[in-house]
Symmetry: C2
Subunit: 295 residues, 2 copies
């Protein structure tokens, strides 16, 4: 039976981290600068704390210095803004990341807007998104998850130019920027969302599918054109009695069905997930290089 | 024989100008403020001069004050920037427009970036484009030509939500923002460009076609799904011995063929063209209202 090539995000991310570690030490040796990433966490959501811990560990593994601020749930917005201001001005900090979601009493937009565009390694600033959308402009930073998707396509030598690409999902942080990135590489993009009546039919036209919806196993085998390449961004917990935690994580794509039709596919976990953090490290390194004009 | 409804941009633009004229005089009566639009023209391109003259005339017709600066071809970029600075600070000016193209010795990006975002009635600033692309954000101004396309759909009660829309062309000023606008209204968008191998097949899936390419009669009748709605942005001169000028203007869509298949279509001339200037007036009025918090 046919079986798609597995696009191994875990191994690719590891390789990228190794490349970054080499560049970080080359920079340290040459000009004595260590890239720095500041992470601001407000509140005590367990999942957010886990993400922040993983980012910190990843920084350490490549020699990037991490700065962490943990603030209680009831912190005032001004307090958070003060920390951002401090990091904006601190030359040892090259990237600033505000872990989302923020507590509901804060205005997410004004907090994110406070991050200086030169240090917006998340790439979520509208100015970055605008440049991403425009021909002839270059964003300072590309959002990490969509950048990770494209990086996987590149490293697996998958052609993008002239291909039909369908992105399922249009969120600001994944679907929309992923589509813009594919278009920059001359794919013909279609963006499917919750108001699309015939998602299956459209998806079946794609040479490249990026699924970023948040619905377990939504994309069935019948949605996939034979030979298509699938990047599955979704991370969804589903019940699993066999697992000691009582659940397991699956993607937006029904892997067992799709892998029989596609030519290449990312697994969940171990696909896009590890790439996101690798791209964050990459953006932080880029920012440090830019700040010190180091090539 | 079936014949599409003609979407009359000329009549619609006239109606919009009348609506704007009423609002302008209401504003004048209530708070004594007259909206102002500044247009900067560098060089002596005949087509540019015509556009600027038309904009000025349109301003006059609705009671918007126009400010005009004409600079010679060999003007230094700094000189242009100085005028922009002046208009940025002038409270009588609510919109600033730099007629493109600029002479080749100028950096278009840095000139356009100098226009204050509050007066960027062209909507070309990357910050505006970014907000246009993002869910939950609102651009200060929407670029005039794509806004005119959507306004025509609205005024002709054409449903957008849930429809398949194909935009042919992805320029920063027409195609790309038109696609983003359609997506904001919950269409499922596909963007076709010069690297799309099967443009005809894709276009035939569309309920709504926006053509912004610049190739006379490219979209043939066979490209159009029966009942589709067509907005033709293209303006292309073709030889015409019967015309005293020796040429006539046609769109990107082969009108004679397409009007037999489509349910509605814009003519060229008299379709999108007149809407562009109407939207410029509308953006200028919006800007003046915003500056004076007048509803
Ligand atoms: N691997 C990683 O590192 C990351 C993984 N993720 C995962 O990716 C997934 C998407 O995340 P995110 O983009 O933040 O999610 P959002 O909830 O912000 O966006 C989901 C998108 O999917 C669309 N959608 C919802 N239902 C359907 C449907 N039935 N058919 C088609 N489209 C639909 C929505 O459409 P509409 O706009 O109309 O509402 C929306 O655009 C999640 O599982 C998340 O956990 C996210 C970030 C990082
Ligand atoms: N009515 C009005 O007020 C206005 C009318 N116009 C008219 O609209 C048209 C488009 O203008 P503008 O957007 O500025 O033009 P641009 O030249 O900037 O963009 C043209 C777009 O068409 C694409 N394209 C070129 N050839 C093909 C092809 N064979 N198949 C598919 N796509 C193709 C290009 O693709 P790629 O990106 O791959 O190069 C590009 O994205 C022109 O005729 C212009 O005169 C423009 C502005 C205002």
């Amino acid at each position: 039976e046919a079986c798609a090539k597995v696009i191994d995000g875990k191994a690719t991310a590891k390789q990228i981290r190794e490349e970054i570690a080499i560049e970080v030490s080359r920079m340290m040796d040459a000009i004595g600068v260590v890239p720095g990433l500041a992470v601001i966490l407000v509140g005590d959501r367990k999942d957010s704390a886990t993400y922040v811990r993983n980012k910190k560990k990843a920084c350490e593994s490549v020699g990037i210095k991490s700065f962490e601020v943990n603030l209680p749930e009831n912190t005032q917005e001004e307090e958070v803004l003060k920390f951002i201001e401090g990091f904006n001005e601190d030359p040892a900090v090259h990237g600033i990341l505000v872990q989302l979601p923020l507590p509901s009493h804060m205005n997410e937009q004004s907090v994110l807007n406070a991050v200086s565009i030169e240090k917006d390694v998340d790439g979520f600033h509208p100015l970055n998104i605008g440049r991403l959308a425009m021909r002839g402009r270059e964003p300072s930073f590309v959002p990490c998850t969509p950048k990770g998707c494209i990086e996987l396509l590149h490293r697996y030598n998958i052609d993008i130019k002239g291909k039909r690409a369908v992105v399922i999902g249009r969120s600001n942080i994944v679907g929309m920027p992923a589509a813009l990135l594919l278009q920059r590489e001359d794919a013909t993009i279609t963006i499917v969302h919750s108001r699309t009546p015939n998602a299956e039919e459209i998806t079946r036209q794609a040479d490249i599918i990026i699924a970023a919806v948040g619905r377990a196993n939504m994309v069935r085998g019948s949605w996939v054109k034979p030979g298509a390449v699938i990047i599955d961004v979704g991370i969804n917990p589903v019940e699993d009695a066999k697992n000691s935690k009582g659940y397991k994580l699956v993607g937006d794509v029904c892997y067992d069905e799709a892998c029989k039709v596609a030519s290449a596919i990312t697994p969940v976990p171990g696909g896009v997930g590890p790439m996101t953090i690798a791209m964050l490290l990459s953006n932080t390194l880029t920012s440090a290089r830019r700040a010190h004009d180091f090539r």
